[in-house]
């Protein structure tokens, strides 16, 4: 497993070394049809570029793939931690009243909604119900419109208000959205749910499936229905949970408002959960090592490019000097046209390797260990992680070649030709 990137890079490099001459010959044939000498000379020399050696090519491909791979892991960890934080709170802020809390009234909701930064706040009545067969189902009763607005501000799947409605349908059954596990329990027909609370019994019908939702972020066997559909002796029950969404909520103010209105309610900020996940020693240290590896791989990649180019620089400089004597002035283009095909080929191979790696070893890697939660983390190709190292290598190669051409111009061709 530890040697997987190396074992993936080897066949990729072998294929690259086979394809490179074909590609360069094609370019050579194209350049031969042109009128300029630069492309022709460069391509003819490119066939023997030092970067086509096995070692630099292999090292560059491996460095690029490792840098991209580390970038993907780093991105995956960040995504995983973010997902885990959402799965913990369900929204940007989760407010859970304590035993001594006052009931959640519209006035409380209004006070919370007026806190700076709060965009949406909605109450949820979450209780345990059982089917006629005794199977437990958690039911989250919500205000459909307010809940849909809140869900839209989270990464959870959207909540189609129209399909759930606010009142029981003509058949007397309440439409609910159910999790896949709840659908297996409730079935597709009409089912009766019972609770020990004042709501007593309710007849429900599954109107749609929802994999996850802010009211039940941990998933499981749950259903979401309209709060108005639950009618106890004193009307719909008061919510027992408040979900708040907003990008820059004034936490201090919100905590104060909650303390004033609900007394001993627990206020959980998603940002705090995320910070605690990212700062736990094991996860923080591991993520730091991944980032350091990325940097190291990038630095080594740059070394490879510089050394690889330096190994062939003497021959390139001599060619440039000879061509200069013959009146050819486009030295920089010549150097770049000669060396860049090999660099580009290695970059392409490195990117191919990096794309292949997650598919090959992704199933064996459990990134959830990095997030400290049981939330599964998807390990997927990341465009930035792929493009950034590749772009850096190409930019460095261009800069190094430009510097090489400039150095030659300064040194003068006479001395060089004499030396050779």
């Amino acid at each position: 497993m530890a040697a997987a990137p190396v074992l993936v890079a080897i066949p990729v490099v072998v294929i690259m070394l086979r394809l490179y001459p074909l590609a360069v010959r094609s370019l050579f044939a194209l350049s031969a049809r042109g009128t300029g000498a630069t492309g022709f000379v460069a391509m003819s020399r490119a066939t023997r570029s030092s970067l086509t050696g096995v070692l630099p090519a292999f090292a560059l491909v491996l460095a690029l793939s490792l840098a991209s791979f580390a970038g993907m892991i780093s991105g995956g960890i960040t995504r995983g931690e973010t997902m885990a934080s959402w799965d913990t709170t369900g929204a940007d802020v989760l407010i859970q009243p304590g035993p001594a809390s006052a009931p959640i009234t519209p006035a409380v909701m209004k006070a919370i909604g007026s806190v700076p930064g709060v965009r949406h706040a909605t109450g949820v009545f979450s209780t345990a119900w059982v089917t006629p067969f005794g199977q437990p189902v958690t039911v989250a009763a919500v205000d459909p419109a307010g809940y849909a607005a809140l869900v839209a501000a989270t990464p959870f799947p959207s909540f189609p208000v129209a399909r759930i409605g606010a009142v029981p349908s003509s058949a007397g059954s309440v439409p609910v959205f159910a999790s896949p596990a709840a659908v297996a329990v409730l079935g597709r027909g009409v089912t009766q749910l019972t609770t020990l609370g004042p709501a007593g019994q309710v007849t429900v019908r599954v109107a749609g499936i929802v994999d996850s939702t802010p009211a039940e972020p941990a998933g499981g066997t749950f259903a979401v229905m309209a709060l108005q559909a639950l009618s106890g002796p004193f009307g719909p029950p008061a919510p027992n949970m408040i979900l708040v969404a907003g990008s820059s909520i004034d936490g201090t103010r919100l905590s104060a408002v909650v303390k004033n209105t609900l007394a001993d309610a627990a206020v959980t900020f998603r940002a705090s959960v995320l910070a605690s996940l990212a700062s736990s020693p094991l996860q923080h240290g591991a993520a730091l090592i991944v980032v350091l590896t990325l940097v190291e791989a990038a630095v080594l990649g740059l070394f490879i490019v510089l050394l690889g180019l330096a190994l062939g620089s003497a021959d390139r400089e001599l060619t440039m000097a000879r061509l200069s004597v013959m009146g050819h002035e486009r030295g920089t283009e010549l150097v770049m046209a000669e060396a860049m095909p090999a660099v580009i080929m290695a970059v392409v191979a490195g990117v191919a390797c990096a794309v292949a790696l997650p598919h090959l070893i992704g199933p064996s890697i459990d990134l959830s260990a990095f997030t400290g939660t049981s939330v599964p983390v998807q390990f997927q190709p990341d465009l930035i992680a792929l493009a950034l190292p590749a772009a850096a290598v190409l930019a460095l190669a261009l800069a190094a070649l430009a510097a090489e051409a400039r150095t030659l111009r300064r040194r003068g061709v006479t001395g060089m030709l004499r030396a050779h």
């Binding site: 190396v6 190994l311 064996s364």
Partner: protein, 495 residues
Amino acid sequence: MRLLPGLNRAVGSAAASTLALALLVCGCVFAAMAGPAISLHTRSEALHQTLAGLAPTTKTVQVGANWSDFTSALTFYANSSPQPGLTGRTFAEARRQVRAAMAATPLPLGPGAWAGLSSTSFIVAAGAPARAFYGPSPPKLEVLYRDPLTSNATQVAGSLTGPAEPAGTIAVAATPQTAARFALHPGSRLTLATAGATVTVVVTAIVRQRGGGSAFWQQDPVAGVPSLATPAGGSPYWVGGVIADPDQLAAIQNAFIGPGLEMQWEFPLAVGGLNADQAQGLYGALQRAATVTPALTTMEAAADTLNVSSPLAADLSEFLGTQAGIQTVLLLLFVSLIVIAAAVILLAARMMVLRRDGELGMLRARGGSLGQVAAVMGRGALVAVLPAAVIGAGLAIAAIPGGAASSGLGWSLAAVAVAVALAGPPLIAAWQYRKPTPQPPGGAGPPGAARWLRSPRARPPWRAWSCCTIRASRPAAGSTCSWPRRRCWWPSRSW
């Protein structure tokens, strides 16, 4: 001042390349040691955080046995007449042998170990005040024997060595909390209703817990503080515990002889200095201790009756699972990095050889052996690599918290980098100059000539080598050669 000419000779015309190699080696050794060291440090930090959150009783290895089974096994295999119980000497010997067996597992045993006997809880039939009743439910009391008691308790009142009591009576000590609930003081008597008989406990001392959070007191919390037990489907009742005086070993065995008396040995584990790499070993040792019969010596007959367990195993297992997930990814990154580092070092080595091309070509042309070529490059590599490696390792040890020296993986990876850096230049040079360079007439060719000869474009077929050489030395003979004169790199005498 003699050093500089020596260095000059060693690095030759490849000073810049040698410096590059040195920098690379320094960086690679630092990175090779720093990565695993940071990994070990953070994993160990996480392990310590996990362990710090655990109760003292969790960080112990617990050995238990039924008193009846243990003493019967000893008696049966000793082929002696049935003994009424354990004497103070055999009790101490059993403790010593169990400890030795645990230490041999091997488990890191720390201070604070204790051994004891404990009864089940019995209803207090007489002597309990009204405050010890919960409604109509009478209280229950358990009697414990713990050794050592004196180092874990401070005497507040009375004495731990009371006068001799009649059979069926046990002299005990109680904590102030138990004393308050059961209205106890030195001289108080409680009657416990055991199966078929009554047992009287006489309080001789009131003792305060010393280190109330220790495994000694936390293993059975009611030993120090009474608690309200709420059995499922039954009425709640108060349950407390008293500890038999140190000289009451025989009395407690006589009073509670039967299936209700349990033996316990508890050994706190010294996990304070444990690092994450050692966690797997500890987990394995705990598993082994729990599954393999303890290796007692003279009491081997009773070894089968011992049950060994450790609550720490479950927590360690969870930590190791997380660590394994992280280690898989990190090891993958480290191995790939060191392969890349080795490749870069080899590139630098190749550059060194290239820069000393003229010197090495000359050496070969003058009849130098491959060993000499390799030695020249080896010297150059040595003067650069060894100091660089030492500096890199020193930086890593100084800069990484917890010390990079403690990571075996780090040393292994650094050794790979150093080995490649030391072996690379001589091997590359030996490979490149494996064929002797033909000596041109009048001495060696100009600098770079040998390289040009070896380049794929300039290299003539092997037959042409001899042709050119012959033409150069004997122009007349060269006329028979088919290889064109213009493609021989050195001028023939006829030019």
